[in-house]
């Protein structure tokens, strides 16, 4: 992800454009492959591209999209929308985490993990995605952003291996 894309995403989040318009634009952009091609294509002239934006996208988003396309950076739009979503979630206090498991944990266990995350990372809500990963052998692995809690047999074996190699 380019720093410029991060800056555009931040600017979009800080702008007065409504969330509804952003979501609508995102949906339109992601749903149509030919539209993405046209916006990203260098052979399409700026006037035609502006014309398409005006006809397809919500009014509030048109200025922003025209600006991004005028610098031939339409390919960054998916990253821009991603950053926008991330900032929105941060503001709302929504934590996104992934729980990799071998055997499906019961509801109480999941609640306990969510409670731990809310307490540790000071969030208001947790969006926990459950993914089965048999390569863990047993136990689970919790990933939140760049932070990882490894309570799996694979992780334990890795730790033991490192200890033995160092010995």
């Amino acid at each position: 992800m380019k720093q410029a894309a991060i800056n555009y995403g931040q600017a979009l989040f800080e702008s007065k454009i409504s969330d509804k318009a952003v979501q609508e634009a995102k949906e339109i952009y992601e749903s149509s492959g030919p539209l993405r091609q046209v916006l990203e294509s260098p052979v399409v002239d700026e006037a035609s591209r502006a014309n398409i934006i005006e006809r397809v996208f919500p009014k509030e988003m048109q200025g922003f999209l025209k600006l991004v396309c005028s610098y031939h950076q339409a390919s960054w739009l998916s990253d821009i929308f991603q950053i926008y979503e991330r900032r929105k979630r941060e503001k709302q206090g929504i934590l996104s985490a992934t729980l990799f498991y071998v055997r499906m944990p019961d509801e109480t266990y999941v609640r306990q993990i969510e409670a731990f995350l809310l307490k540790k990372y000071k969030g208001r809500q947790v969006e926990l995605t459950l993914v089965q990963d048999t390569s863990l052998l047993s136990g689970f692995l919790l990933q939140i952003g760049n932070i990882q809690y490894d309570c799996s047999a694979r992780g334990a074996m890795g730790q033991l291996q490192q200890k033995l190699v160092r010995r």
Binding site: I147, Q148, D150, C151, L160, R167
Partner: protein
Amino acid sequence: MSVIRSDEIISILKEEIANFDMVTRALETGSVISVGDGIATVYGIDHAMYGEIVIFENGVKGMVQDIRRNEIGCIIFGKDTGICEGTKVTRTKKQAGISVSEACLGRVVNALGAPIDGKGELPQGEYLPMEQEAPGIVERKSVSVPMETGILAIDSMFPIGRGQRELIIGDRQTGKTSIATDTILNQKGKDMICIYVAIGQKASTVAKIVSTFTQNDAMDYTIVVTSMASDPASLQYIAPYAGTAIAEYFMKKGKDVLIVYDDLSKHAVAYRALSLLLERSPGREAYPGDVFYLHSRLLERSSRLNEAAGGGSITALPIIETQDGDVSAYIPTNVISITDGQIFLESDLFNSGMRPAVNVGLSVSRVGGAAQTKAMKKAAGSIRIDLAQYREMEVFTQFSSDLDAATKEQLQYGKGLMELLKQPLGCPLSLSEQVLTLVLATRKVMLDVPVSKVKQFQKDILEYFKTEQSPIVQEIEETKTLTDQLMDEILEAARAYKSRFR
């Protein structure tokens, strides 16, 4: 090679598993986005420190060398074959370091401190960071104790003190490594710990050096740190820092350490390769802008500590290989300016049979004079000036028949001096032998000895002093001074020997 039985392995494993306590803590992870040429770009480790060790999913370690806004560049300490896009990378929050203990003595280790001599594993020692700050001015003491190389040409004219950094510079095949290894051999019984750091050397060369040390019982006080030519550039880059970390361990215990970096030209080349792969801007000769700092921060760690700080010292002998005698190239000028003097070796001198091929005019020792013993200082006297005069007059040798007697005598004296400064490999001279040789030479006792027989005469007369004039030898070794009376005694004994010789 130590042998470990299978039942011992099983018992070790059982013990380790029984005592194993899994620690679950928050680990900061990232994933590899690109890898190649020993460099991995990792996305996601936001709080990585410069110089921190990271561990890849397959157990290979790497070091953070480049921190960008959203990604980090790591140099990989090992093969990059098991690392691919998406490989998980974990922070260790530990700076790159090396485990050092007394057990390292007599061993050959790689740049990460792992033994490679097949003599079994090393016990876990103190973990010392490879990159450490150099001692400050308060902790330092001026250089005043000599570090004898055993080479007459060096000890008499370019003395090296404990804590000094003396560069050995010259073209290929001029005897740079030989000077360093001879110096290590000469440290036997002198309470000095030696570290030989081989950077980008052939494995056969390192094996040969190790066998020379072993044959001369020098491995008892020596550690060899190697990063072979086949090792990745990252290992070649950290090898001298690892060697210095080992040296610092001993220095802080109050010991005197001699460290040889063979050679820093290859170290600079390895760093250039890494820097270019990390997309840093190339500068002069394609080296990065911080190549001066690369060597200055390494050599600044060589020092002599005062008693309060431990009282040890690190004497550094960095080696630089020049191309066609060009000392004005980028790396040679950098290291010349960092070090406290240089011993310049010349191909022409080497090929003319002058070994060690020290160029007296271009070599210098900036701080070693203070460390020279009084006996050596007095004995060496004007030898440098005499040699310089001889070199100027050497051109007249072809007109020898037309020269006056005084000039002829000066030429003969110079020739004799040049002959005396020749010294074969692995034959270091003790302080008394050097002082006696210099006294006899500068007082022109050997003037009437034919040049071709000077070396034999020197050998015989030194043997005579050793066997029949042992009080003189003993006095020089013990007092390390040369009184006028002692000088007269030496000359008297030499005259007596000469009359017998005839």
